[in-house]
């Protein structure tokens, strides 16, 4: 949608394309360098090996950008992220979103407790998770990918919503949904989603 606005000028097409390509390549190199800072916690290629830190690979572009905008505005709070995002530019945010969304999403680990997953699937259906997160739980636009996310991070995120520490985007739907979830439901749905491919 948004890429259609690139200012191609027909008369200077070849020149513009050349300039554009090299600028883009430089951007990519620059953004890769910048993402090195992310890898410390979020892992190589955006796949986190750190407890309570989410994988970013394959998250929807807009979702990633929104989180950075929320961190920067202070409406989402996190001690590690705060100092990093304070001075981040809109261009950086767009670049980070584009970079991590194009990485291959994490592979789900083998499910060692399919019964719990079954229960989690029922919770997800009852709470209408798919209405926003899509039937495959790959997420879309401003809505997060849940499939294959770290299990304990999904639990953490639901707790953050439940306690009101995190409000989420738009109309605060996640805060309202999570508030009514029991611990049992949270455990089950996190297990189910973490093991979805």
């Amino acid at each position: 949608m948004r890429r259609q606005f690139f200012p191609y000028v027909i008369g200077a097409l070849s020149l513009a394309v050349l300039a554009f390509v090299s600028a883009q390549a430089a951007d990519n190199a620059a953004i890769k360098e910048k993402t090195a800072a992310c890898a410390g916690c979020h892992g190589e290629n955006g796949i986190s090996q750190t407890e309570n830190v989410p994988s970013l690979a394959g998250q929807p572009d807009q979702f990633l950008q929104w989180q950075l905008v929320f961190f920067r505005a202070g409406s989402r709070k996190n001690d590690q992220m705060q100092p990093i995002v304070e001075e981040i530019t809109n261009e950086d945010i767009r670049n980070f979103g584009a970079y991590f969304s194009q990485l291959a999403p994490p592979k789900a680990p083998e499910d060692e407790d399919p019964d719990l997953s079954k229960k989690g699937a029922q919770v997800a259906a009852g709470r209408r998770c798919a209405s926003c997160h899509t039937d495959t739980y790959a997420g879309t636009k401003a809505v997060a990918r849940l499939a294959g996310q770290r299990e304990e991070y999904l639990v953490k995120a639901l707790h953050d919503y439940k306690s009101g520490q995190r409000v989420g985007g738009g109309v605060a739907a996640m805060a309202d949904v999570a508030y009514h979830m029991s611990e049992e439901e949270i455990t089950a749905v996190a297990h189910y989603l973490a093991h979805l491919q």
Binding site: M1, R2, F5, F6, P7, Q62, Q65, W66, L68, V69, F70, A73, G74, S75, N90, I93, R94, G97, R127, R128, S131, C132, K141, A142, V143, V167, G169, G170, V171, A172, A173, A175, D176, V177, Y179, H180
Partner: protein
């Protein structure tokens, strides 16, 4: 202008025919479901209303319709330059970008010394925009507020409404570097987010009209919500002026009569074409506008009418269309536009989410006398919507500038536009 009007009449006729059949099906499905019950007598209801407040009434065919989310960093200057080229206006009018980088921009208000204050939606920011020799400097002056969508400026103070708190920041234009904590002057409002974001319209006595939306799509609202109150920011005294109002996020005081007119977003999930959103006027204090019993003045709710007839309620001045989402509105009191615009109402339509083919995302002009009779509407500015669901921008508020031009806030592109008129 005439041809535009004819086209919209034809379009409306087609819509009405289609609506007859599809609404029938949806309502049939709807009937088979049990009535939901909310316990509003508990404290919990007021902090965490039903989790199904905007989903839960959908049919299978409506699954997947959800409020869309715009570009998180707004539109870039290059993109904005292209957007304004696509906006269609009547002859003689011109649109330009007034300020960019005003992320999630909502209601606007002028300070006495020419500072433009702008609220925001989920971001929690309030901005101050200053004109430095033609270059607009956008400064975030408040952060971390709870949906500070509405604001007003009065007697040197900036007032911000953040869901359940009306906060006053004294001597605001002199303190843009540090507005301080402010003083809460009114807080008799529920804290839930659902339809809890608000708009401020100041009347001639300096009292504020404030909307109180219900915390769900449709239901019998607890007695203290689904209403419009008039609040004195000096004393915190409040009066209930309108009942039976769903989600209103815009209104203005008629310069001719002092009466309050307001826009209202109708319930969702009946169908793509029903019910219509509304423009209302409060003739006398305490009028009931029909929600949840009757929609658009003539459509009893399938479940919630419960024997009520539409004739019991104050009908809308005008049905604006289904899911157009009318938000901020202003009477045009300036001198720059052609004389026939005087006292017309300009309404910013935010556009649909609960409709397969979006409509709205434009500014409409309503021509109507002070009695509300024989209203006419026509499209004033459009072009922010491409294809079925492709927003380029979403207008949501209008503000007159001193020179008679108007400013338009767009929370999708994160920008303020200026629309001006010149005879040549």
């Amino acid at each position: 202008m005439t041809s535009m009007f004819h086209r919209s009449v034809l379009a409306l006729a087609a819509v009405a025919l289609l609506a007859g059949s599809s609404a029938g099906n949806a309502q049939q499905q709807d009937k088979n479901r049990a009535l939901k019950k909310y316990e509003s007598g508990t404290k919990e209801f007021w902090t965490h209303p039903p989790d199904d407040w905007f989903l839960g009434d959908e049919t299978e065919a409506q699954k997947g319709l959800a409020p869309p989310s715009g570009p998180p960093t707004g539109a870039s200057d290059t993109e904005l330059a292209n957007i304004v080229k696509k906006i269609k206006l009547p002859p003689g009018f011109k649109i330009e970008v007034y300020a960019s980088g005003v992320l999630a921009a909502r209601q606007m208000a002028w300070g006495d010394k020419g500072t433009l204050f702008v609220g925001s939606f989920g971001l929690g920011n309030v901005y101050a925009i200053k004109d430095n020799n033609g270059k607009k400097e956008v400064k975030t002056v408040l952060k971390g507020l709870n949906m500070p969508t509405g604001l007003a400026f009065k007697d040197g103070a900036l007032y911000v409404i953040a869901v359940d708190k009306l906060i006053r920041y004294d001597d605001a234009e002199a303190k843009l570097d540090n507005l301080g904590e402010g003083k809460v002057v009114y807080d008799d409002m529920p804290s839930y987010a659902a339809h809890g974001w608000k708009y401020i319209a100041v009347d001639k006595d300096g009292w504020f009209f404030l909307p109180f939306g219900p915390p769900f799509n449709v239901g019998i609202p607890p007695t203290s919500v689904s209403q419009i109150r008039r609040v004195d920011p000096k004393t915190g005294n409040a009066e209930i002026w309108a009942l039976g109002v769903r989600n209103s996020v815009g209104g203005d005081v008629d310069p001719r009569t002092g009466k309050y007119w307001f826009t209202e977003n109708a319930r969702d999930w009946i169908s793509d074409d029903l019910p219509s959103d509304k423009l209302n006027m409060i003739n006398r204090i305490g009028e009931h506008f029909g929600y949840p019993y009757c929609h658009q003045g003539n459509l009893p709710d399938d479940k919630f009418a419960m024997g009520h007839k539409c004739s019991e309620f104050t009908p809308p001045v005008l049905n604006l269309g289904a899911h157009v989402a009318p938000l901020g509105m202003k009477f045009y009191t300036g001198d720059q536009f052609p004389a026939e615009y005087k006292n017309n109402i300009l309404i910013a339509e935010h556009g649909s989410w609960n409709r397969h083919k979006y409509q709205g995302a434009r500014i409409v002009r309503v021509i109507v006398g002070p009695d509300g009779k024989n209203p006419k509407q026509e499209i004033f500015a459009s072009g922010w919507l491409e294809g079925d669901q492709g927003y380029l921008g979403r207008p949501n508020d209008i503000l007159l500038a001193k020179d008679g031009s108007i400013l338009v806030a767009d929370d999708w592109a994160g920008a303020i536009y200026r629309i001006s008129y010149s005879k040549k």
